[in-house]
Symmetry: C2
Subunit: 83 residues, 2 copies
């Protein structure tokens, strides 16, 4: 398992409700790929959404996001973390 930060673009105007619904859609199926989405942050003005996950691979993150209806191309492993 590794930690990943993925970045969605083009989400201008996203609301708290939409972010929550998107996150729930991920949570509903994430176990099928061994993924867990832990945190998410959104900037409605620039349309950027950041998601932090634990997953076996970047491809697993991409598959869950795609099946949940919000495909992502930018998935960075972040092996170093401070929290």
């Amino acid at each position: 398992m590794a930690t990943f930060m993925d970045v969605h673009h083009g989400m201008k105007g996203i609301t708290a409700e939409q972010l929550s619904a998107a996150h729930k859609a991920d949570l509903a199926i994430e176990r099928e790929e061994g993924v867990h989405f832990q945190q998410a942050w959104a900037d409605p003005e620039s349309g950027t959404v950041y998601c932090l996950s634990e997953a076996p691979s970047a491809d697993a993150v991409k598959r869950i996001h795609a099946r949940a209806g919000h495909p992502v191309t930018e998935v960075h492993p972040v092996p170093l973390a401070i929290s």
Copy 2:
């Protein structure tokens, strides 16, 4: 106060020790601008570092990072969060 995600580029090869030292340099002076850096993640391969902070403004985040020796241009407010 607001929440911000800032993104550093060009940090290829960053080590855990360097990330920790950079974070400590921020913490040492952050109060002077009312900023608090909460979490950070790094991808040594792409050279990307993400920092999550609470701050009065994006400019305050930029000033602390610049004074600590790692200036950043990309600072996004992230008013929506799930954790």
